[in-house]
């Protein structure tokens, strides 16, 4: 009997200690009146802005240590971040500050986001940092739901040495010239373009978008938020060109490959061209990835027709529910979107700021990208920011079919339309 009593006491005490050890700590304002706000971020691990966000959050917590504290939650992987935000939104438990890095969550979550318009209007200095394009991307029905801090500027990078080997003296100005140059590269034994199909085929889809945007109606389409109908001449024509590129001008691993394979082919000088943004530039000088002096052989160009991705991007949103948390979140977002923070982002991560910064110390390709974007004839937005998430997912399914000729460009456009509707 005594044994049994001892056993029961042991089990109870173990259970209690386990429960105590696993228990949750209450969140909220600290005892010293410091307001805590939650900030989950995908900027961790290998993500390009990891160092920047760490440095900035530490700086904010130091500067406002008597008033506010940002509690950062690392969510590795962009898609994991989006998935978690969707669950938190459904549970009405969004964090205080959200920044998605390009994914458009405003349209699906705006009923839970704070309208930032009055706060920006009462601070002209802060408002002065924001471009009109940046504000437009983050505005719905006249209400500003996120503060812009990045300008999405994308052209394509090319290997000058491989272009010279193929006898190409200047970058193509039209898509016809582009394909002629691809033939020249092929004749010189060089695979012209890096492409991919997996994970929404980012690199390929940038080419697709640039092809679509090479006309007035195409440019308008590539600036339309969440289009429902892809059955138009521009999309069909562009899909035809992408089909030709898959079949003639890219590597064998393009079909089924993701960004990593496409980038590696360019880094290893197996291909001469890759479409991507300036955040890639630091890798051109990373000798664990590329050979010595590779960066000196890479230049940037606008897409044929002088088309550039040049748009605002979804920025920092606030979903706090109490006045004191909104105040703390505003201070944090203001800090992260300040001229100083944007300049640091540009210098540390080659991320083009939304505001105009003229005295930053950056790689030549980054400055060239900014200059080209400023002088581009046509400015378009990228598919990930504009198109329905279902369409973005569908692209990875349809590209391999387009590549092997199982579907026609018309069927490709119809498949995207079906996904959108």
């Amino acid at each position: 009997m005594k044994k049994k009593v001892v056993a029961v006491v042991c089990v109870l005490s173990m259970s209690m200690s386990l429960a105590a050890g696993c228990g949750n700590k209450e969140e909220g304002a600290g005892g010293n009146g410091v307001v805590e706000i939650s900030f989950p971020t995908f900027m961790c691990g290998t993500a390009s802005q990891t160092e920047w966000v760490k440095e900035r959050v530490e700086a904010f917590n130091e500067e406002y240590k008597d008033q506010y504290k940002v509690v950062m939650e690392e969510i590795p992987g962009d898609q994991n971040y989006i998935d978690k935000m969707k669950v938190l939104y459904s549970a009405d438990d969004l964090p205080d500050v959200i920044v998605t890095g390009g994914y458009n969550l405003i349209d699906s979550m705006q009923d839970k986001l704070v309208d930032l318009t009055p706060y920006v209007e009462e601070d002209p200095e802060w408002a002065g940092f924001m471009s009109d394009v940046g504000k437009n991307v983050n505005t719905r029905d006249g209400k500003l739901y996120a503060i812009p801090y990045i300008r999405q500027t994308i052209g394509y990078f090319y290997n000058t040495e491989l272009f010279e080997e193929a006898g190409i003296e200047q970058v193509p100005e039209t898509w016809d010239e582009f394909f002629e140059d691809c033939d020249k590269l092929l004749a010189a034994g060089i695979t012209p373009v890096s492409m991919d199909t997996a994970e929404s085929g980012w690199v390929t889809s940038l080419m697709l978008g640039a092809m679509i945007g090479d006309s007035d109606t195409g440019e308008e389409f590539m600036n339309t938020n969440q289009p429902d109908d892809y059955n138009n001449d521009e999309v069909v024509k562009a899909a035809g060109m992408i089909q030709e590129m898959f079949q003639k001008y890219t590597t064998a691993d393009a079909v089924g490959g993701a960004y990593a394979e496409a980038a590696n082919n360019f880094f290893n000088e197996k291909t001469a061209i890759i479409a991507n943004g300036p955040w890639m530039v630091s890798k051109f000088y990373d000798t664990s990835v590329v050979s010595e002096d590779f960066g000196d052989r890479v230049a940037v160009a606008t897409f044929p027709g002088n088309v550039m991705y040049n748009s605002g991007q979804i920025g920092w949103s606030i979903a706090s529910k109490t006045e004191e948390k909104i105040e703390a979140s505003l201070a944090f977002v203001k800090f992260m979107t300040s001229e100083e923070s944007q300049k640091l982002d540009l210098e540390m991560c080659s991320v083009i700021p939304d505001c105009v910064i003229t005295d930053a110390d950056v790689y030549s390709q980054v400055q060239d990208t900014i200059n080209l974007a400023d002088s581009a004839s046509r400015s378009i937005n990228d598919f990930q920011s504009l198109w329905h998430a279902t369409v973005v997912d569908e692209i990875s399914v349809q590209y391999p079919l387009l590549a092997d000729g199982s579907i026609t460009p018309e069927e490709f456009a119809q498949a995207l339309t079906d996904a959108a509707q």
Binding site: C22, S48, E74, P76, Q79, D93, A260, M280, S288
Partner: protein
């Protein structure tokens, strides 16, 4: 006759070598890749490293708290396996041995949760955990994982108990053993193989689970290993060297433990398999 025996032996050796290569090959590939640069990995996946540098390991440790997440994984998987198997074995025994009203409905109800997709459980479980203040706790994950593994464990253990003849229970009863005594002292020792199978499957499910760990936790002190492995690739950047180093670091302790304890593990798995 001798030639046939010789050929038989050679075939046996070839088969064993092939099986060993399939088992060990992926581990060796991961370990060798952890010493290669990203360029080497993407250029030629199966080549040997040009030099043996531990930079990948240093970067892996800098980038993600692997060891902390590993410790959390061990704790959460072990505790919830013990709790789940302990509770489910009692339920399975009752369902296998006793006749009572609603037994079939009860069994179907417990098993039917196998059919509910994880994505359908995310939201309700998040809300429940938030309400009972178990978000971002190890206890929260332990409870969720214990529940998630319930139908599979129940299925295995009920089948195991059904395979033990009822006469065993009856003989014990004649000798004066009550139901609890019969269950703990006779049935459980005779069901070691089924218990080991259910526990292994349950442990592995908890060990590899990603989505609930992502949604229900937010601090490093409560997160598990599958999350750590996501630190090394994002949409526009990757560090495969560090990722392979992290995988090596995370599987190495398990392999070492298995090598040291393989005799005990194998014998406990085999024990009871000839009984009943």
């Amino acid at each position: 006759m001798k030639a046939r025996k010789f050929i038989g032996r050679i075939l046996c050796v070839v088969f064993l070598a092939y099986t060993a290569a399939i088992c060990v090959g992926p581990f060796l590939w991961v370990i060798f890749s952890s010493f290669k640069s990203n360029k080497e990995i993407l250029d030629s996946a199966f080549s040997l490293p040009s030099s043996y540098s531990f930079d990948g390991y240093l970067r892996a440790l800098e980038m993600s708290p692997i060891f902390e997440f590993f410790g959390n994984s061990v704790f959460i998987a072990a505790v919830n396996t013990v709790i789940s198997i302990g509770a489910v074995s009692m339920a399975a025994y009752a369902l296998a041995r006793y006749e009572f009203r609603g037994k079939k409905i009860f069994t179907s109800l417990l098993s039917s949760s196998l059919l509910i997709p994880i994505s359908g459980l995310l939201m309700p479980l998040y809300l429940i955990m938030a309400r009972i203040n178990l978000l971002d706790t190890k206890m929260g994950l332990i409870i969720v994982y214990a529940a998630l593994g319930l139908p599979t464990s129940l299925f295995i253990l009920r089948s195991t108990f059904l395979n033990i003849p009822k006469e065993v229970d009856e003989a014990a009863a004649i000798d004066g053993a009550g139901p609890i005594y019969t269950f703990t002292r006779i049935i459980i020792p005779m069901s070691r193989s089924g218990l080991a199978t259910a526990a292994t499957l349950h442990f592995l499910t908890s060990w590899n689970e990603f989505m609930f760990a992502l949604v229900l936790t937010k601090s490093e002190t409560n997160r598990t290993l599958p999350l750590a492995l996501n630190y090394f690739s994002s949409q526009f950047s990757f560090d495969y060297t560090a990722m392979f180093a992290a995988i090596t670091l995370s599987v190495l302790p398990s392999i070492i433990v298995f090598i040291l304890l393989q005799e005990q593990i194998t014998s406990s798995m085999a024990a009871g398999s000839v009984k009943g």
